[in-house]
């Protein structure tokens, strides 16, 4: 079987690489069609991302995306499509910011309070979808889509300056009460030709979340039940998994982590919730990245970096007269080709295995026959 394992590994790696190449080829075609030089476009992106400051930007963006993707992946692992990560993360960030702004506490306490609030709010928001699914059989896909819209409205309402919003003098960008410095999550300073930039310190938390995710899933009985429920609900039920509760748990977990998505930005950068700081759509990006990373913590890390790279180097296209949407298209193409590649590889692997088993079985059978004959 070792043979098969190694092969599995090779195939698993082959898929994404192949997919990215295909996607690049396709998008080059598109660029070329618009009468521009694709090589030049790629060169611009790479060259730009070679700058230290761009790399800092990429890392920071990747941190956010990583958390988003992990939040989605937890759902995926048991066939739950938490399309609602987007709403969960925004409402969580907003309320966490408001709570954090309302109090002043010693640093660690203050931050813990904010993080806990964020996790709880995210969990509650996804929990609604969870309960609707377990108790009323409402498809989480639809309910979470609806909840996203509701979250947007609710945030807008709460952000009224009569409520949680405050309006900095002269500005018209409503924000929440700015956080006290005690809630400033220290970053890693990087000096870029005279200017100092910071890599989110939260990146370590993100890594921790990833590791936790891995262990929870592969090393605990809970994780096993969760994966079982994802692999075959009927089998899980028969094996004693309370799938309803599982749905709820993984929904809550997913939402809880979704709550963390906004934290790097909140604690490391903006120190208050402003609509512009926490854009909609991150949740959907998370879905795409979770797919790229095959719902696997390490894979997701690569996915997040790739996505952040495309995001961050796109402006340089714009800057040099290329359409920056090329990057978006590339992202879309990558997702599609990746999922296709994975599916093909999966099938191929299964068939090969079956044949192997089949052959070995047949041999065994022949041996029997000869024995009988003897």
């Amino acid at each position: 079987m070792k043979r098969i394992d190694k092969e599995k590994l090779v195939l698993a790696l082959a898929a994404p690489v192949l997919a990215v190449v295909v996607a690049m080829a396709l998008s080059s075609g598109i660029v070329a069609a618009s009468g521009k030089d694709p090589i030049e476009a790629f060169r611009l992106m790479l060259e730009y991302s070679a700058n230290a400051d761009t790399q800092v930007l990429i890392l920071n963006r990747a941190t956010t995306y990583y958390l988003a993707a992990v939040a989605v992946a937890i759902g995926f692992r048991m066939n739950l499509f938490n399309i609602g990560v987007d709403g969960q993360y925004r409402i969580a960030a907003m309320l966490a910011a408001a709570v954090g702004g309302a109090v002043t506490l010693p640093g660690p306490l203050h931050m813990t309070l904010i993080l806990v609030t964020a996790i709880l709010v995210g969990a509650v928001w996804s929990g609604v979808a969870g309960v609707l699914k377990t108790h009323r059989g409402v498809s989480e896909v639809v309910s979470t889509i609806m909840l996203n819209a509701v979250a947007t409205a609710l945030i807008a309402y709460l952000m009224r300056d009569s409520l949680l919003g405050v309006l900095p003098q002269g500005s018209d960008q409503l924000t929440t009460e700015p956080l006290a410095d005690s809630a400033d999550f220290p970053g890693i300073p990087v000096d870029v030709d005279g200017r100092t930039m910071e890599v989110y310190g939260f990146i370590f938390i993100a890594v921790a979340v990833g590791i936790g995710f891995h262990y929870l899933l592969n090393r605990t009985t809970f994780g096993f039940d969760l994966r079982a429920a994802g692999a075959s609900e009927s089998a899980a039920v028969a094996s004693g998994v309370d799938t309803k509760r599982m749905v709820l748990y993984s929904m809550l977990l997913s939402g809880g982590i979704a709550g963390l998505i906004g934290m790097p930005q909140l604690l490391g950068e903006s120190h208050s919730y402003g609509v512009a700081d926490f854009p909609a759509g991150v949740g959907f990006t998370g879905i795409a990245i979770a797919l790229l990373g095959r719902n696997n913590p390490l894979g997701i890390a690569f996915g997040a970096l790739l996505w952040a790279f495309l995001d961050r180097s796109a402006p340089n296209l714009d800057f040099n007269g290329f359409e920056k949407e090329i990057a978006t298209i590339m992202q879309g193409l990558i997702v599609i080709s990746v999922v296709v590649a994975y599916e093909l590889v999966r099938r191929y692997g299964l068939r090969r295995q079956q044949q192997r088993v089949g052959e070995e079985l047949a041999q065994a059978a022949r041996r029997n026959v000869t024995e009988v004959a003897a």
């Binding site: 079987m1 059989g137 009985t221 309370d242 295995q353 079956q354 192997r356 088993v357 070995e360």
Partner: protein, 540 residues
Amino acid sequence: MHAIVGENGAGKSTLMKILYGMQRPDEGTIAIDGEQVSLHTPSDAIARGIGMVHQHFMLADNLTVLENTVLGAEKRHGIRDAARARMREISDAYGLGIRPDALVEDLGVADRQRVEILKVLYRGARILILDEPTAVLVPQEVDALFANLRELKSEGLTVIFISHKLDEVLSVADEITVIRRGTTVASVLPGDVNARQLAELMVGSELPSPQTRESTVTDTPMLTVTELGLGGDENGRRLLDGVSFTIHRGEVLGIAGVEGNGQTELIDVLIGARPADEGTVVLGEQDVTAWPTRRRREGGVGYIPEDRHRHGLLLESPLWENRILGHVGESPNSKGPWLDPRAARADTRRIVEEYDVRTPGIEVTAASLSGGNQQKLIVGREMSHHPRLLIAAHPTRGVDVGAQAQIWDQIRAARREGLAVLLISADLDELIGLSDTIRVMYRGRLVADADPATVTSQELGSAMTGAAAGHLEHHEPGDADTEGGTAPEGAPPSGGTAAPGSGAGADTSPDTGPDAGPDTSPDAGPDTGPDAAADTGEER
């Protein structure tokens, strides 16, 4: 009428699928009426007058019988009245008793079987392929089916059928082909062989000798079920109704019954997948009625599910993870909340070894094992945790004779150590061979019981169709639980003779035609109940 026999995985279905154009042969030729043909799709086959009734029903539950029948053959008589009329013709001609506008999901197994046959005839097939048509039928229904088939044969149709039940093969087939591991090993005439020889041809080795029954029944009850009742559908029929019995240590209680008469529900209730509406379940000393599945299974309930692919395995996971399934909280699989993959792997190797699971290793996915070997793995897994009670549903369905014997031995051995077994099986010989006591389940009730020592499959069959209930000594639930274990006096022969006619009448209603409503509709209960449940489950 040509019969094909062979152990599971021998390639029978595959061969038939090739004849029917659903799979392509790598080499070789097919000739119809001496003319060579190449069949790429089922349509080609249909066009050449080949029709197939598949091993697993090929019906769309949510469509009507009419829709299921005309699907793909709309050109013949459209999809409305003309078609309906034509269906009635055929149905009456062969006494199939079809109701064109019933929803398939409301039909019982036997009726579905007939719909399948009607589908084939409707397409004017001259060559009829039936893959294990009798697997799910009770003897009376089998007789009815073969009666139909003889009709067809006399009309000049060719019938190819596959079966694991060698006696029926011998009785109806004109010629028999035996295949093993994808090749023809023999082609014989029914006259020249007996069942044992045939079976040996199939397996290519001696058969396990017929079991000798030595009773190990003790009088310490292990499972005591009292007055179980469950649900009820639109027409108010209960899925389970006043079910009571006791299984003692070392006892095998067999439950006979046509599928869809509450066996599945009974199992669900016993393993806790579904709460009973009333009644209690007592395991050993403890009342486990309120326990969730996980607690019951860790409390010593082993479970060999009816459908291994849906309930027994994670097909895309490696064997060792499948070994953990259902016992994740128990050693060697885990320590506290932490999994222990190393130990689990080691123990999986042991199981593969001891239970002779034919696999090159424990890292292969369960899907790549053959059904029989999958089943052996499951049995091994369940036995490894020394259950106090084993719930075995069709433990050897779709398993070849060799594996069958192994599994039986496992069960007997465990029984000797005082295991209590609830055995549910459609294979009456298996029931009679293994059980210490047999109860018959019909429409959610335990309507009869029999002593395996004396009862015949004919008698059981009639009881299963509800026909012979009156003739067997029927215990009211009240006292049933106390005497459940003890063997009652066998059924009077009249039960056997009374059976076929009334049996057919009660369940198949051959010639009553469309207005057979009253007796077929009750079947809706067991069928729709689970379905309805499944539907909300299937929400995306």
